[in-house]
Symmetry: C2
Subunit: 182 residues, 2 copies
DNA sequence: GATTCCATGTAAATGGTTACATGATTCT
DNA sequence: AGAATCATGTAACCATTTACATGGAATC
């Protein structure tokens, strides 16, 4: 996963490891975290594998290493991106994939988002069938909070569906934010 | 984290490792996963540390190992649970903590949920200040999907706030589900 | 002049997945 | 009879965190 995120960040630009980390923080930082201790060695192995190029540059007295995706790297990245969204991965990993969907040709993207919507609809049904057999009202204090997390999850699934429907049609994002009223 | 989840599952009951895994799947399985390869050795170390007891029992020709929290285990668990929600942990870990909030005395719980709400409100403000400077409409295809994940996150934060406000007052969960209309 | 940010990494420890291995019991 | 599920675990490997270590450049 990190492989693709790193490559995806330097598809068109040259960036240092430091820059990449900032990029990640500013974009998918809400749901995806990287540490230097993980990223720097990873950049090295990706370079060794021929998926990135690294060019050293002295700026003043400071050495900077700039990374950029190679043709092979781009190909690997696009193969991953074109593949169906990994349903076994965490929700965060799935989001990270969609983050790069702008790179995907519309035809493929539409198919993937459609598949994904169907999958989430199934998840919703699973949740609902569980919710159906679980008591909701007049609960003991001891049970209330446990069950409340189930309902959090249920709402979350609803929201993902709403989001996918929205982005499938590329509706203006300003219309997406639910105004916050108590 | 796994420590507390395992102990939390056997606070009052005796369960086998197998049972515990099922319990976890059925309760917090949406956002928390355990594997046998991780859980069984973990149960052993917790037993060695004196946080769990293990009693072996032959059922037919099959050996079962039943685990249960010791007084020390319960104490350790309650210390973790009473502490402020770990804001540096993943959202999933935070939810897992709230899952057990039924075990917490109301006074502590109310404080913790209040703190948590404030924290999430701050997160919301951070999101909103980012959202303010990011374009939403008339976006290039290439940029649309990247920014869309930001909006997903924004919505998510709204939902968490709604959820916390709701469970703080222990409102009946049947009233929580947002009816799904296109 | 000190603090913060830029910039690179290493090393130790811990955390966690996956595949493998085994066999009993229950359901169809 | 065969499949699914109950039940326990090990071992090899891979991923990840955290603390440490270093020093230049910019800001206050």
């Amino acid at each position: 996963m990190l492989d693709y995120i790193l490559i995806g960040m330097v598809l068109e630009t040259e960036l240092t490891g430091y820059d990449i980390k900032k990029e990640v923080e500013n974009s998918i930082g809400n749901f995806y975290k990287v540490s230097y201790g993980r990223m720097y060695p990873h950049l090295k192995t990706l370079t060794d594998k021929g998926l990135l190029t690294m060019t050293e540059q002295m700026e003043g007295k400071r050495l900077k290493r700039y990374y950029r995706a190679t043709t092979k790297g781009k190909k690997t990245f696009m193969e991953w991106l074109s593949a169906p969204i990994d349903l076994k991965a965490s929700g965060e990993a799935q989001l990270a994939q969609i983050f790069f969907y702008g790179e995907l040709p519309k035809e493929v993207r539409d198919i993937r988002l459609q598949e994904y919507e169907i999958y989430i609809q199934q998840t919703l049904m699973q949740y609902e069938s569980i919710a159906k057999v679980v008591p909701t009202d007049g609960l003991d204090e001891k049970d209330y909070y446990g069950i409340s997390t189930l309902y959090y999850g249920l709402q979350n699934v609803h929201n993902i569906i709403r989001w996918i429907k929205f982005i499938k049609e590329q509706k203006p994002l300003s219309k997406f934010i639910k105004p916050y009223n108590e």
